[in-house]
Amino acid sequence: MKRAILCLLVIAVALTGAFAMGARDQGKAGPQLPELSHDELVAAAKAEGKVVVYSITSRISNAAAEFEKKYGIKVESSNLKDGELIEKVTREVGGNIQGADFVIAQDSGRVYGQLIATGYLVNYVPPSMRNVIPAQYQNPLTFQLINKVFIFNSERTQQPVIQNVWELTEPQWRGLVQFKDPKSEGVNANFLTMLTSPEWSAKLEKAYEQRYGKKLALTTKNAGYEWIKAFFRNGLVLGNSDTTISENIGIKGQPRTTMGLFVYSKTRYDATKNLALLPMTEVTPFSGFIYPAFLMLTRNAKNVHAARLFIEFLLTQEGFAPWAKDVGSYSSNPDIPVNQGDHPISFWQPRLVHEDPQFLFENRAAVEEFVNNITF
C-alpha cells in the first residue's frame, strides 16, 4: 500500500518537472503594439477601462485618484516593498498570470538581473516624452530619483553634527544612529554594496586619512567593507521603516542628539508630527545615497493602452503632483521643477552614492552575506 503510493508520488513528481519545463517558454511576445496618437491611445485606454499598477511608492494612490478623475479609467494600485514587488512580478509574468500592467520598481541590481534581462519588464517611453526626458533616463525609463541622506535631530543645534562618515564609527555616536534594515529594503543593501566598489572604497580610504592622519589598516577586503563593519558594530539601530526612523530621530525632548540615514522626504513630517529634523549635505565623502525608481510595462500586461496612458500621465507635471509637493523626489522630466526648499539633482549628484546595476548584480550577494555575519 505505502509503497504503491510512494511509486505514484515519484511518478507524479517527475511529471511535474516535465510540465514545469514545458510551461516556461510561453508568451515571450510582449506588448509590442503599433504606435498610436494621443487621442487614439486615450480611446483605446478607455475601452480597456482599467489598469493595475504595483508601486514602491505609496503616493501612487493619490496619482491614481487624479488619473481616474481625468480619464474615467479605474486604477487598482498596490504599494509593495521592493523585494516583494520583484518576487511577485517574477512569479506572475514567469507563470503568465495576470497581475500588474505596469510597475514602479526600485533596486537596480535585481530589476536589471531578474526582470529586465529576463524580458519580464518591457521599456516604453511615451512619444511625447522622447525629446523631453534626458537620454540617460530613457532605457530603462526612470520615473524619479529618490535620496536618503544623513538627517539629525535639530533640537539642540542647527549646525551639522558630523563632517566625515568615519565619525559614525566613533564611540560618541554609539547606539545613536539609525538605518533601515538592508535586508528589508534592497536599495539600502545596494548602498552598502556600492561602498565596496573601487571608486567608493578609495574615497572612504582618503576620508579616513583626512580624519585620523594615518593610513587605514585593513582587516577586510577594502575600506568599504571596513567602514560597513565599523558602522554596524557601533550599536547601529536597524529599523523596519523610514517613517518610524524619522519619528525616532525627530522626536523632541531626547536626552542626546540622534541621527539617521533615511529618505530625505521624511523631513516633510516636521510640522504636523512636531519633529525636529535637519539634513546634512556636506559630509565627507558622501552625505547619503540616491537611487532611481523605474517605470515599466510588464510583458503580459492586459491593459496595455491604459498602462501607457498612465505612464505618460505620471511623467507630466499633473501626474507627478503627489510627489512634487515634497522635497526628496525628483522627476526624470526636467520640466518639472524641484520642490521649493529642495536642491536640484545637479546639487545632489556629487554628494551622494549612486547605483551601478552591473556592479550591484555581481557583488550584492557577497555584501549581504558579509553584513549578515557582522556580530556585535
Binding site: 500500500m1 508520488l9 507524479a12 513528481v13 511529471l15 518537472g17 510540465f19 514545469a20 510551461a23 493595475v52 511608492t57 505609496s58 503616493r59 494612490s61 493619490n62 487598482e76 498596490s78 516593498k81 523585494g83 518576487e87 511577485k88 517574477t90 512569479r91 506572475e92 507563470g95 498570470i97 495576470q98 497581475g99 500588474a100 538581473g113 547606539g175 535586508k183 528589508s184 539601530v237 536597524l238 529599523g239 523596519n240 521603516s241 523610514d242 517613517t243 518610524t244 526612523i245 519619528e247 525616532n248 522626536i251 513630517y269 504636523t272 508630527k273 512636531n274 519633529l275 503627489p322 548584480f361 555581481e362 550584492r364 550577494a365 549581504e368 552575506e369 549578515n372 555575519n373 556580530t375
Partner: protein, 597 residues
C-alpha cells in the same frame, strides 16, 4: 467471494468511498507538496542568479544546503542561531502557558474560587484574539526610546524607561506566546480534570491523604498525558509563530526560523528559506510521533461517564478573595487592556504625545493628507480596507465551510472504519497539516502552485489557492471535532436508520448531524476564527488583488504607520469576538470543544 465482489461490496459503503477519496486527495495536498518543496531546496531560483554565478533558473545545485548547514559563520547566523532561538522561546512559552493555564484549570475545577464563570469565559479570550494582539499591546506599552524612539504608554505614564531586554527580544516573545497559548493548556488540562473520576480523589480523602499528596500521587499522574500533549502542541504552535517574533524580535535583531524564512523567501535566496521550512516540518513530524506515542500508551478515550459525586473543593480560605480578584485583574489586563491601547494609539497624531489635544480622527475617518501617512485616507474611507475586509470574511467563510464539511465526513469515515490501516492513514494525514508551521505550509503551496502542475493550472494569485491552503491547514481542527463527535455516537443509531432503508445522505443530514450539532459546528467555528486572524499562512501567497486584513495590518506596521495598524487590529479583534460570541450563543458551538475534544 471473488475479488470483484469484494470490491463491489467495499465500494457500496459510503464511508469506504469517502475514505478512499480522502486518502487520495490528502496525499496529493499534503505529501506531494512536500516533494515539491524538497525539489525547491536543490534548484536555482530566479533571484539567486546574483549569488550563484553563471547558473540558470531551474539548474540543480547544492548551494543552499551548503550555505545553510556547512558554511561556518554564515550558517551560524543564517540557521543555527535562529534555530536555537526558536527552540528556546518555544520551551519558555510552553512553561509559561502550562503553569498559567494548568494553574487556572486546577483553581476552577478543584477550588472554591470566586467568579468562576467569568474567569473561565474570559480566560480563553487571548486565544481567540490574533496572537500579535498582545505583541502590539506590549509595544504600545513598553517600547522604549533607545530603539523605539517615541516611548510607550508605560514610560509616558510613569517616566520609567524600560530596559531593552524587557521591551524587545526573547523575554517578551516568551511571555506573549505563553499568554496566548495558556488557554490551550487550560482547556486540555481542565477537560481532563473535569472528566476524571472523582472517586479516586475521594478515596484518598477518606484514607486521610493530605491535599498535597493527592495532587502529587493521584491528580498529577492522571493529568500527565494531557500536560504532555499540551506541551507538545503548544511547542509546535510556538515554533511556527511568526507575527509575535516579527513584531518583538526585529528591533534587537533577534531572529527565529519563521522570521528568517520570511526574509529569505522575499530576498535574494529563497532556497535557504525552503530548507528552513523543511527543517520545521521535520521537527513538527517528530513532535507528532512523540505525541502519538504518549497518547497511544493510553488506549482508551476520555468519555463522558456518570460521576459518583462532586469532589469537595479545596478551601482557599483567606486567599480566596485576593486570589480571585487578582486573577480577574490579570485577565482584564491581558484581554481588555490591549484593546484599549489600540483604540488610544489609533487616535494619536504626533507620536508619543498622549495629551487630549493630540487626538485626531484622521486615521479613522480623515481624508488623505499627504503630510501624514503618505496621503492614505482613514481606514473607514479607504476602499482597500473594505476590499481586505470583504476578502477576509469571504475567505474565512469559504474555508470554514470546506474544512468543516470535510471534517465531518472524515470523522464519519474514520470512525466507521476504525481499526483498518486505511483509516489510520487518513487519520494521520488529516492531522499532519497541524504540525506544519503555517509559514512553511504557505511556502510549500507557493512553490507548488505558482506554476502549472499536472492538470492544475497555476493557482498563484487566485482566491482558490487561499481557500485550498486554508482548508487543508485547518482540517485538523475540523476532523478532530468530527472524530470526537462520531466517537461519542453509538453505531446503533445509524443502523436503525439503515434498517428502515433511509438513504445515506438522509441519515447524515437528518440523524447524525442534528444529534452532534454543536460538536460538528465547533469544527466549522475554529477554522473560521483561525482564518480571520491568520497571517503567517497567507503572507507569502497574497497578491495585491486578494489581500486580506491581516496582511494589510502587517504592511502598515512594517511601514511604521502605527495608527492605521492599530485601527485595523481593533477591527479584526472586534469582528472575531462578535462572530465567536454570536455563533456560540446561537448554536452552542465553542472553540474549547474544538481543541479539547
Amino acid at each position: 467471494m471473488t475479488a470483484a465482489n469484494r470490491f463491489k461490496s467495499f465500494i457500496r459503503k459510503p464511508h469506504n468511498v469517502i475514505l478512499v477519496a480522502l486518502a487520495i486527495s490528502l496525499s496529493f495536498l499534503t505529501l506531494f507538496p512536500l516533494l515539491s518543496l524538497v525539489r525547491d531546496t536543490v534548484i536555482v531560483h530566479p533571484s539567486e542568479l546574483m549569488s550563484i554565478r553563471g547558473s540558470k533558473p531551474g539548474d540543480l545545485t547544492i548551494f543552499h544546503w551548503r550555505k545553510v548547514f556547512f558554511d561556518g559563520e554564515t550558517s551560524q547566523n543564517l540557521f543555527y542561531k535562529p534555530f536555537w532561538n526558536t527552540i528556546n522561546i518555544s520551551l519558555g512559552a510552553c512553561l509559561v502557558s502550562l503553569v498559567l493555564g494548568g494553574g487556572v484549570a486546577w483553581l476552577i475545577t478543584r477550588s472554591d474560587l470566586r467568579w468562576k464563570s467569568f474567569i473561565s469565559t474570559a480566560f480563553i479570550f487571548p486565544y481567540i484574539m490574533p496572537s500579535w494582539t498582545l505583541a502590539m499591546a506590549w509595544l504600545n506599552f513598553f517600547r522604549n526610546r533607545l530603539i523605539g524612539g517615541a516611548p510607550g504608554l508605560f514610560t509616558a505614564l510613569t517616566g520609567i524607561e524600560t530596559p531593552n531586554w524587557f521591551a524587545y527580544g526573547a523575554f517578551p516573545i516568551v511571555i506573549v506566546l505563553g499568554l496566548h497559548y495558556a488557554p490551550f493548556a487550560y482547556i486540555l488540562i481542565g477537560g481532563i480534570l473535569r472528566n476524571m473520576d472523582a472517586n479516586l480523589e475521594e478515596a484518598a480523602v477518606i484514607l486521610k491523604a493530605s491535599r498535597f499528596k493527592i495532587l502529587r500521587r493521584i491528580t498529577m499522574p492522571i493529568v500527565m498525558p494531557a500536560i504532555l500533549s499540551t506541551f507538545l502542541l503548544v511547542f509546535s504552535s510556538c515554533m511556527s509563530a511568526f507575527a509575535v517574533p516579527a513584531f518583538l524580535g526585529t528591533p534587537v535583531r533577534f531572529q527565529v526560523l519563521t522570521t528568517q524564512l520570511f526574509r529569505t523567501l522575499n530576498g535574494l535566496n529563497p532556497g535557504y528559506g525552503y530548507i528552513m521550512a523543511l527543517v520545521m516540518i521535520v521537527l513538527g513530524t517528530l513532535i507528532l510521533m512523540i505525541n502519538q506515542w504518549f497518547v497511544g500508551k493510553r488506549k482508551s478515550f476520555t468519555t463522558v461517564t456518570g460521576k459518583s459525586s462532586n469532589i469537595s473543593l479545596v478551601k482557599l480560605r483567606s486567599l480566596r478573595t485576593p486570589l480571585s480578584a487578582g486573577l480577574v485583574l490579570f485577565i482584564l489586563a491581558v484581554a481588555v487592556l490591549p484593546l484599549v491601547t489600540f483604540a488610544i494609539e489609533s487616535f494619536i497624531l504626533a507620536p508619543g504625545d498622549y495629551s487630549f489635544k493630540n487626538m485626531t480622527l484622521q486615521f479613522w475617518a480623515g481624508e488623505g493628507r499627504v503630510d501624514i501617512g503618505g496621503g492614505e485616507p482613514g481606514i473607514l474611507l479607504n476602499k482597500y480596507i473594505y476590499l481586505g475586509l470583504w476578502n477576509s470574511i469571504r475567505l474565512s467563510v469559504v474555508v470554514a465551510l470546506v474544512a468543516g464539511s470535510v471534517g465531518v465526513l472524515a470523522g464519519y469515515a474514520i470512525v466507521r472504519t476504525r481499526g483498518t490501516r486505511l483509516s489510520g492513514y487518513v487519520n494521520n494525514l488529516a492531522f499532519f497539516p497541524y504540525l506544519m508551521p503555517s509559514m512553511a505550509f504557505g511556502a510549500i503551496y507557493l512553490s507548488m502552485f505558482a506554476k502549472p502542475n499536472l492538470f492544475i493550472p497555476s493557482l498563484y494569485g487566485s482566491f482558490a489557492l487561499l481557500v485550498l491552503v486554508g482548508a487543508v491547514k485547518y482540517l485538523p481542527f475540523a476532523s478532530r471535532a468530527g472524530i470526537n463527535a462520531m466517537l461519542q455516537l453509538s453505531g446503533e443509531i445509524e443502523e436503525a436508520g439503515l434498517i428502515l432503508g433511509v438513504p445515506w445522505w438522509k441519515r447524515m443530514t437528518r440523524i447524525i448531524f442534528p444529534i452532534q450539532k454543536s460538536s460538528f459546528l465547533s469544527g466549522y467555528l475554529l477554522p473560521f476564527i483561525s482564518c480571520m486572524r491568520e497571517l503567517a499562512l497567507f503572507v507569502l501567497l497574497i497578491t495585491p488583488a486578494n489581500r486580506v486584513l491581516t496582511t494589510m495590518l502587517f504592511q502598515y506596521n512594517e511601514k511604521g504607520w502605527n495608527q492605521y495598524a492599530n485601527a485595523i487590529n481593533l477591527m479584526i479583534v472586534v469582528i472575531v469576538l462578535v462572530f465567536n460570541t454570536a455563533i456560540n450563543k446561537i448554536t452552542g458551538a465553542s472553540i474549547d470543544k474544538g481543541i479539547g475534544g
